[in-house]
Amino acid sequence: MTLGKQKKVGQIFSHILLAVIALSTLAPLVLLVINSFKSNSEIVDSPVALPTEWSLKYIISATEQINFFKSIWITFAITFISVLLLVMVSSLSAWVMVRSKSKLAVFMYLGFTAAMLIPFQSVMYPLLDIFEKLGLKNIPGLIIMYGGFGLSMSVFLYHGFIKSVPQSLEEAAIIDGANIFQMFFKVVFPLLKSITVTVVVINSMWIWNDYLLPFLVIGNREGVKTLTLELYFAKLTSGQYGNPWELIFPAVFVTIIPIVILYIFLQKYIVAGVVDGAVKQ
């Protein structure tokens, strides 16, 4: 009895503790929401109060300033194509690396893995220099860069997973006369579903939110900016030197809405993807 009671008290205590942490996790986001409906002076003077009126004025004007409906489409297109490229290239190469078991394959795999330790800053300037000379300082170039930077991690994840996929099915397919592509896409790829989710989730998360690479590649070119770039430049230009909170809050708010909605619907996959990705390392 007492043990059970003790346990119950423990449970309640744990709940209280975790709920407090959850509240402090959400607090800055709540702050973001309520301040998206206020004027600059109202934000600075009474930052934690509810807005005096729930007018969409600031949200609408922020949406216009960051060209929301255009930039979200650009960001989506970049993320989608980059991730597609990554999934295709890394799954194929990881698969053939695992299966061929040659020294070259092992060497390549080690190379890919070691490259995870190269910080972006040490390739940044030469990379831009080279892409400039190739005429690729534009969105296709950006996508290729994402393909390169996401490759190590993705190959690594696929490689670890494919090792545990039995080879017998593939042999049967070859005997049936399938060519290597048919075999890969019809037989192997469906088996990689769970790790593909991981690769998609991990890469989408950083590509969607990335700021530095688009900044260096696209910069302030009109009409091709991603969401994070629009946000950055909107802050820069509207308050030339200060913080235009009545723009920043609603702008950040609208940029995170799609992510949060997606997260709420797909959280099972996202969380599973993150865990698989981490644990497989």
Binding site: N40, N138, I143, G219, E222, G223, V224, Y241
Partner: protein, 510 residues
């Protein structure tokens, strides 16, 4: 084997094409890159292949993007050529983008740079064209007539044509001054202020501070004339919270423009400053101490108490400081004519009543090291300087260089070109005749009146080592003094010594 390769390359191509189609076409309508005169190119990310323009202008001022494009178009139509204008958004660091363009095949024929420090890169890299190499006679004449102080030089040759001139000082709202001292006294007050000594100015600040904080009426003496405050606060004076509105978190306000007044007392112009010796700098100690004293007075009598609060970017950044002034919470705001639009945005009704008053520092004649410069001139003048220069790129074709020269001549001398400069860009031309030019807005006209009176200073601080002013000295002031409540006499010495030592170190002087 062949088949797989083909499929793969097809896949890659498909992906690329999709990327181009989905993003490129979407982006073109709103682009500020445009080729005028011929059919605009479709892709927005990059002006397409060579040869779709005859002259490429890279404009760093985002504020005049539209006007510059119109000017390029007008010039193109007049000459029957295609002009491409690229403008960056305002507030953007243009260096990275300009370097990108310089690395590409299609280099801009006219680009811009801010001062002689930024010029070094383009001279060293062989990009900036020496005016001695000019081929166009009219252009040679144009650049020979640029006033000495407005030249962009590396010490041996000249490279730049000024965009315009700007000026700064204490911005005051004349309606506020009328409410403080009586409308009938306004003109005599403004005249007396300009010639007043620093001691009179300092006493005035203290009197006004007491009037604002305690409501005690007083009398200020400027140039020997007495001006009594209204017994009770009336009109705009009722909302006052301090004498000065200070953007404490903006390092450049005291790291660039404010300290420049003291640097002006030591060096005649930025060229002289760039050739400073350690002895020159040490001789400037008196002037640098005067800077510290004047900054002390300003920040101690601001709308926000000096301390950590004053460097809070949220409450004491550029925008809040402009808003405080525009909403009559302070009498003076030390800023330039570029703040006009911001002030107007915050409170349109005061925009027409603005005027510049000189920034005063306690110099003695001994502190002033520039030959012929007097204490009186320093007290009465405001800095007027060139914020940006057009530079011609030596690495483009001779035809394009010739066209670039023609464009700059056209922009700065022809009636049509000047119309774009004065009306559409709202610039004060560097070669303006003060007798006939009107800026069309209060602060611009105020600058022109100082030019007409010959009461101007230079921007000598621009000759300091690159990265010294805002990022080294301004940062030092922000982190050690602007956030500190009490300043002592010893602090003045420390600040002056820091100016000398940090400058000397960065310029490799010993």
């Amino acid at each position: 084997m062949k088949k797989t390769k083909r499929i793969l390359s097809l896949l890659l191509v498909a992906v690329m094409v999709f990327a181009l189609a989905s993003c490129g076409s979407k982006g073109s309508d709103n682009s500020k890159t445009s080729s005028t005169g011929s059919e605009a190119s479709g892709a927005a990310e990059k002006p397409t292949a060579t040869g779709d323009y005859d002259l490429y202008i890279f404009n760093t001022k985002g504020e005049n993007a539209d006007a510059m494009e119109a000017a390029g178009k007008a010039f193109g139509e007049e000459k029957g050529v295609t002009v491409k204008v690229f403008s960056l958004g305002s507030g953007t660091n243009s260096d990275d983008t300009l370097r990108t363009e310089m690395n590409s095949k299609n280099k801009p024929a006219i680009f811009s740079t801010m001062n002689s420090q930024a010029l070094v890169e383009w001279v060293e890299g062989g990009f900036a064209m020496d005016h001695a190499k000019a081929t166009n006679e009219e252009f040679k004449k144009l650049v020979s007539e640029i006033p000495e102080g407005f030249n962009l030089t590396d010490g041996t040759a000249n490279y730049g044509v000024p965009y315009n001139v700007e000026g700064y000082g204490y911005i005051a709202d004349t309606q506020m001054l009328s409410d403080l001292f009586g409308a009938d006294k306004l003109d005599s007050f403004l005249a007396a202020f300009k010639t007043a000594t620093y001691e009179e100015f300092e006493a005035m600040v203290h009197t006004l501070e007491a009037y604002i904080k305690e409501g005690t009426a007083g009398t200020v003496t400027l140039s020997g004339t007495d001006f009594a405050t209204a017994a009770e606060k009336t009109g705009k004076a009722t909302s006052l919270e301090g004498v000065f509105s200070v953007a404490g978190s903006e390092k450049w306000t005291y790291g660039d423009h404010f300290v420049n007044i003291a640097v002006d007392a030591v060096f005649a112009n930025s060229k002289a400053a760039s050739q400073a010796t350690l002895a020159d700098l040490e001789a400037g100690k008196g002037a640098f101490k005067a800077y510290a004293k004047a900054l002390d007075l300003k920040t101690a009598n601001a709308t926000t108490e000096r301390g950590p609060e004053l460097i809070n970017a949220t409450t004491n950044g550029y925008d809040p400081s402009v808003a405080n002034f525009a909403n009559s919470k302070a009498i003076f705001l030390k800023q330039g004519n570029w703040a006009y639009e911001n002030i107007k945005k915050a409170n349109a009704e005061i925009a027409d009543n603005l005027t510049f008053l000189p920034v005063k520092m306690p110099f003695t004649q001994d502190d002033i090291k520039v030959e012929g410069l007097t204490v009186d001139h320093m007290l009465e003048s405001i800095p007027v300087f060139v914020p940006n220069y057009y530079v011609i790129n030596d690495k483009v074709s001779d035809e394009e260089k010739e066209l670039a020269q023609e464009f700059l001549v056209w922009l700065n001398t022809s009636e049509a070109g000047q119309k774009f400069v004065v009306e559409d860009m709202a610039f004060i031309p560097y070669n303006a005749d003060p007798a006939t030019t009107s800026a069309g807005y209060s602060l611009g006209d105020s600058i022109i009146s100082y030019i007409a009176d010959g009461k101007t200073l230079t921007n000598a601080y621009a000759g300091a080592p690159a990265g010294w002013s805002t990022d080294t000295f301004g940062q030092y002031m922000m982190e050690n003094y602007v956030n500190k409540t009490e300043w002592t006499d010893a602090d003045y010495d420390t600040i002056a010594d820091y100016i000398i030592s940090s400058w000397a170190e960065m310029a490799n002087l010993s």
